[in-house]
Symmetry: C2
Subunit: 239 residues, 2 copies
């Protein structure tokens, strides 16, 4: 395979999402076995702060949570956006390296790591979960390091369309006549900007531009209708 031959590239991002629901149900059961405590959060609640002592492991059952880091001068980078089924809170030092904050109402299962360490079955599940999160972090590094503002926003929007976007995009569903989709962002412009490594102004400008081009329509500022998913997908840099 040559440096530029991309024909055989993995469809990891997609498959990650297809596997999510099955993984999700299994993981809930698994956590329950270990006497997990279930916690409920409102939007913009903090589960833990960067620097807090790391003792427990968390499993996102319902809702969306972001992990972010801050620089001393206030610059913020959202490093992960978690979905149901994802696990978070593991730390390699004694302290959390990120702040975990909810984006929506969220339900989280909390469990002591020492309890689950004894279960090989749970460990395998954990490994799979971490691996898929690492793949998402790899994609995100490409976005942050090599994509233009337009490509970042397009990638972000595609990320919210089930079974689409990413390197192994399946294309429009042949069963369906149109190729549109409605998505809910659950994030403010500031959060999107901090996730994409941009400013709010740039995010706003790119979204306006996509509207002007007729690719999307904003029903509310965080409720977007994609007229043609495929044409948006063409703007992600993956094609």
């Amino acid at each position: 395979m040559s440096y530029l031959d991309q024909t055989a590239v993995a469809a990891n991002d997609m498959q990650r999402r297809n596997a999510a629901s099955a993984k999700h149900l299994a993981a809930i059961a698994s956590f329950a076995e270990f006497g997990a405590k279930s916690l409920k959060f409102s939007p913009h609640d903090v589960v833990y702060y960067e620097g807090d002592e790391a003792r427990r492991l968390y499993h996102l059952e319902r809702g969306t949570i972001m992990l972010f880091k801050l620089l001393p001068d206030g610059r913020r980078q959202v490093v992960e956006v978690l979905r149901p089924g994802d696990i978070f809170g593991l730390a390699s030092s004694s302290e959390h390296d990120c702040t975990a904050e909810t984006l929506t109402d969220a339900q989280v299962q909390e469990i002591d790591l020492r309890q689950v360490e004894t279960s090989p079955e749970f460990q395998r599940r954990l490994t799979r979960c971490l691996t898929s999160q690492m793949n998402a972090l790899h994609d995100h590094a490409v976005l942050l390091g090599r994509k233009s503002a337009h490509e970042r926003v397009a990638s972000f929007l595609m990320y919210l369309v089930p079974n689409r976007g990413g390197v192994g995009c399946v294309g429009p569903d042949p069963e369906r006549v149109d190729d549109s989709s409605d998505i809910k962002l659950h994030m403010t412009r500031q959060e999107i900007a901090d996730y994409l490594g941009l400013t709010i102004e740039t995010v706003s400008r790119v979204v306006s531009d996509l509207k002007r081009k007729g690719v999307i329509r904003a029903d509310k500022s965080d409720q977007i209708h994609l007229h043609k998913v495929c044409s948006l997908c063409q703007m992600t840099g993956f094609h």
Copy 2:
């Protein structure tokens, strides 16, 4: 803890490196138990390509390896730089999401994942390793998303100084009179640029600028003497 309060921030990046040597030795033993096959590579050998079928797990025993992804138009992002003790090759789909290429001579242990899945002890080690790699990916996301070219290069150089750099930098060793350090990059300007999300020209310009300011001296293009580690550390954005 307020949005901007950084006093209690974790020293994860540092502790990751301090733990590396102990983890390293233990992991070698662990892999040997499972009948790992030891492989040797020359610089710029490819261990596997993005898109190759993922069957095995790799443990870097000696040397340096980078993982990178490509966009169809040839843009490249180096997503991880691995050191001895790191584990790689896990895939959430059936295919590798990155290409793994050596930067130096390298020795790698190769093992079938199914063999190690049965060992809780190994699984715990794997979890710790993945966690510390995820923390490194988080730091890298901050670098790519929020740091200037100068900060990126300074962070990169500090990353190669043992026990320094990162949020929890311990400062200069009080036992030592000077605060200098010699580092070997093991990477071309192109590889550094692709790691830092910059162009080779920008990397070259920043390095020249650091020379002009008297912060560093380049003995060879990939062999750098840091005159005052602390003053370089001040430029990373972490202070």
